[in-house]
């Protein structure tokens, strides 16, 4: 059975969406009567409580830009299913190569939550990156020990820049 849990963030509002295999859509654990159909590469039709919305969804780095009724809303999403999956994998599969943690976006390191030698498990917070005036937590994909820490607080980083390695 596949379940996907996706957290959408708009400014300070967070929406916990869950998509079940049988088509059930839930928001914060509550079943929502809704039908979502993809019409075109970026066009999504949503029928919600009898209302018809036709929205444009464009991927923009880590965000989705939504045009709804001529309005613009930028939404960032995060797959919390993935963390679940990597937790399972992390325990069973270890690679010999160090895992690299790279910055998903340009921004500034606001706070480091680990240092060299810190033991982490998958899903643990590593550092807080500020980009576009929003704080984003970078989390561990795998468990291990922080081997090399390459950035410090207040440091400005580029997209794709190596932040640390986990061994």
């Amino acid at each position: 059975m596949s379940v996907a849990t996706i957290i959408s963030t708009i400014g300070t509002r967070k929406f916990h969406w869950r998509f079940d295999d049988d088509g059930t859509v839930s928001l914060a654990g509550e079943k929502i009567p809704v039908e979502v159909t993809k019409i075109s590469p970026n066009g999504v039709s949503i029928l919600f409580k009898g209302k018809s919305y036709f929205v444009m969804v464009t991927k923009n780095d880590l965000n989705y830009d939504i045009i709804i009724n001529g309005n613009f809303i930028r939404v960032s999403t995060e797959d919390s299913t993935k963390q679940l999956a990597s937790k399972v994998l992390g325990g069973t599969r270890r690679t010999a190569i160090d895992t690299e943690v790279r910055s998903p976006m340009p921004g500034m390191v606001v706070r480091c939550e680990v240092q060299e030698g810190t033991k982490v498990k998958p899903g643990d917070g590593l550092l807080i990156l500020e980009a576009m005036k929003m704080e984003n937590e970078i989390r561990a994909n795998t468990g291990g020990v922080i081997k090399r820490m390459l950035v410090k607080e207040r440091q400005v980083v580029e997209k794709g820049e190596l932040l640390m390695t986990i061994a």
């Binding site: 996907a4 996706i6 928001l27 993809k38 949503i46 309005n71």
Partner: protein
């Protein structure tokens, strides 16, 4: 004078305006020749033209600004005329000279008329002589700081220092009091030198909350000149227009007539022929002042066409063939109201920075009273080499309130993805109470716009968050219902059939 019949036109431009010119030419039975840069090989203006030739390269200077390449193509393809569109070479008198000395017709004014309107002080002097009101200030470049201080004192602060050969806000400084003058004067001079190659500057009185209102004119080779009403273009960002309307909500028939006659007067004074636009600033007391003249077709010309029922590109071609104007001033009758929204590939959340990428979905608005002049299609690659204007959405309504409601509907209907556009920003403008009341000036964007204002109701946020989550889920390619790209909750669809 024997009219010369134009059979084939080279369109020295790209994007929506190239296509717009092609359409009118084609309806007149005239063949069109398109030119294109490497990045524009798949552009609609290339696909629709009768012939198309490569300019080899991408930078403007190697392509749409390369006079020699363009004249060579016009020759090789046996064109008898060139239409420059707007931007690029449209206001370059050297291009006019190159065209005419190659034995081709330039669809636009003479190089002499273009030169006399090119320098701002020269144009101001000409207007003053033609009794067209100009903004108080100098009609000559300033010698030195001492002279600047004297002029500024006599007209009163605040003042504007402007570059004689300037444009787009460069080499321009607002000075509020005498203490700031010296520094601003030298800054404006050096900025003008680096941007336009000349440190000539002049002084104008600064108008506090002016509106930008312009008059469309048509002049033939036989001395006939008419004006086709005004366009209100006060909604601007970065000194660039975004929303335009015709007629202006501010003008009375009397002021309109005075402005129109001033524009006609100005045009006659410099022996101008073809379509042109005389731009004015209007102060809060409704006195108007000459700003500058644009010696070409304007981006916003369709609002005039919609209201006056006249194709300006066809008129330009007929004038260039030596024909007389088909209308007298008495026959020029406005009907209804039109608005244009410029759809730029820009991010209205990030200070209108240009947005690049591939257009994925493309469903422009349709229906009665809507005109859409576009230069793109689904799959178009928006590159950073050129102006980010994608298309112009124009509506016509029986009156201003109908055309505002029509534009609101048209903007909601317009679906485009892959690049950010000014559509949400235009929707904000159109729905703003000050715009609806017609109470706005050129500071509209600074006064009322903030990206936060684009974010709307809680339910829209909820739907947006669901749309993003669903797309994220489909993008990761999991689950049966994700493959089908449709999910529904609680037998929602079936329930409706049961009931």
């Amino acid at each position: 004078m024997k009219p010369k019949v134009i059979k084939k036109i080279l369109i020295a431009n790209r994007g929506e305006i190239a296509l717009r010119i092609h359409r009118s030419a084609s309806e007149m039975g005239i063949q069109t020749v398109a030119i294109f840069s490497d990045a524009d090989r798949r552009a609609p203006h290339v696909l629709q033209a009768n012939e198309a030739y490569s300019l080899n390269g991408n930078l403007s200077k190697d392509t749409y600004l390369d006079i020699k390449k363009i004249i060579d193509i016009a020759h090789a393809s046996h064109c008898d005329a060139i239409h420059p569109g707007y931007g690029f070479l449209s206001e370059n008198p050297d291009f006019v000279d190159a065209t005419t000395s190659a034995g081709l017709i330039f669809i636009g004014p003479s190089s002499a008329a273009m030169r006399s309107m090119g320098g701002k002080t020269g144009a101001r002097e000409l207007m003053a002589k033609a009794n067209v009101p100009i903004i108080p200030g100098t009609t000559y470049p300033l010698k030195d700081f001492t002279e600047a201080a004297k002029v500024a004192k006599s007209i009163g602060y605040p003042i504007l220092i402007k570059a004689v050969h300037g444009g787009g806000g460069k080499g321009m400084r607002k000075v509020d009091e005498v203490g700031e003058l010296e520094q601003s004067f030298s800054q404006a001079k050096s900025e003008s030198k680096s941007s336009f190659g000349s440190e000539s500057v002049f002084i104008e009185k600064y108008l506090q909350n002016p509106r930008h209102i312009e008059i469309q004119i048509l002049a033939d080779m036989h001395g006939n000149v008419i004006y086709l009403g005004e366009r209100e273009c006060s909604v601007q960002r970065r000194h660039q227009k975004v929303v335009e309307e015709c007629p202006s909500s501010l003008l009375t028939p009397d002021i309109r007539k005075r402005m129109g006659e001033a524009a006609v007067n100005a045009v006659q004074k410099c022996g101008y022929v073809n379509a042109g636009t005389v731009e004015f600033l209007m102060d809060s007391d409704k006195s108007f002042y000459f700003l500058e003249m644009n010696t070409r077709l304007q981006v916003e010309h369709p609002v005039t066409e919609m209201v006056f029922g006249l194709d300006l590109v066809k008129a330009q071609i007929r004038i260039a063939q030596g024909e007389e104007l088909s209308l007298t001033q008495e026959q020029v009758v406005p009907r209804g109201h039109a608005i244009e929204c410029r759809i730029y590939a820009e991010d209205p959340l990030e200070g209108f920075i240009p947005s690049t990428g591939r257009v994925e979905d493309y469903m422009p608005s349709e229906g009665y009273g809507i005109r859409h002049d576009s230069g793109i299609m689904r799959g178009s690659e928006i590159v950073h080499f050129y102006d980010p204007l994608l298309s112009k959405l124009v509506v016509w309504g029986a009156d201003r309130s109908e055309s505002i409601r029509k534009m609101k509907r048209a903007l909601e209907e317009f679906k485009i993805s892959g690049v950010s556009t000014t559509i949400p920003f235009c929707a904000f403008v159109i729905s703003h109470p000050k715009f609806i009341e017609g109470e706005y000036d050129i500071h509209f964007v600074e006064k009322y716009y903030h990206p936060d204002k684009l974010i709307r109701s809680e339910e829209e946020e909820l739907i947006a968050s669901l749309a993003a989550a669903s797309m994220h889920n489909w993008d990761s390619g999991k689950g049966k219902e994700m493959r089908e790209h449709s999910i529904s909750s609680g037998n929602w669809k079936n329930k409706r059939f049961d009931e």
